[in-house]
């Protein structure tokens, strides 16, 4: 079974500052990687995905992530956050099935 580790459970950041949400996974085989966002009382929305090819993946809302195979990481970044980015963020790995991390709560401070 796969495991996904999100290293920070809570990340506070000031508005317009950059942010990085960290994700590591355990796998020695090829996997597909995803980041999802969950707003309060809602389902999950796909931010971006890595399937193959370029290791830098761009998603919606200005987010991007970099796949690092040697470090088995898939960190999410945004150069300038907005208040509306306040939400729960989940990293996920697909290998036969989807495995999700425990989530990182991003709070953007005005």
């Amino acid at each position: 079974a796969q495991s996904v580790t999100q290293l920070d459970s809570q990340v506070p950041v000031f508005e317009e500052a950059p942010v990085e949400l960290r994700c590591n996974y355990s796998s020695s085989v090829s996997v597909y990687l995803f980041w999802y966002v969950q707003y309060p009382n809602q389902g999950l929305q796909l931010l971006l995905k890595y399937l193959s090819g370029s290791t830098l993946v761009k998603g919606i809302n200005g987010f991007e992530a970099e796949f690092n195979k040697s470090q088995t990481s898939f960190h999410l970044r945004k150069p300038s956050v907005h208040i509306s980015d306040t939400a729960e963020y989940f990293c996920a790995v697909r290998h036969n099935q989807f495995y999700f991390g425990t989530g990182t709560s991003l709070t953007v401070i005005p």
Partner: protein, 115 residues
Amino acid sequence: DAGVTQSPTHLIKTRGQHVTLRCSPISGHKSVSWYQQVLGQGPQFIFQYYEKEERGRGNFPDRFSARQFPNYSSELNVNALLLGDSALYLCASSLGGGQGAYEQYFGPGTRLTVT
């Protein structure tokens, strides 16, 4: 186009009771997956169905069962409810059900509270 829909949005049950949750996938999607999300945790995979057949099962007891209908909608059933079954149950649909990297689209979830 309508997204993934789930019903009901909320429900409260008593220990030992049975519950049925329903999900309608995006039009054209043939695969439905179910997840349990306990407060403060990430979603945990329960089942995947594709073309009305079970394609995957997570580490959940036999009290949990599901099925998919000819119109690709799905039901998740939980028997003999326990307090620990209280969670947000998410349904996700996708085009395919194989090992490909098909994107999953999530519904808003059903919040189940067991008292």
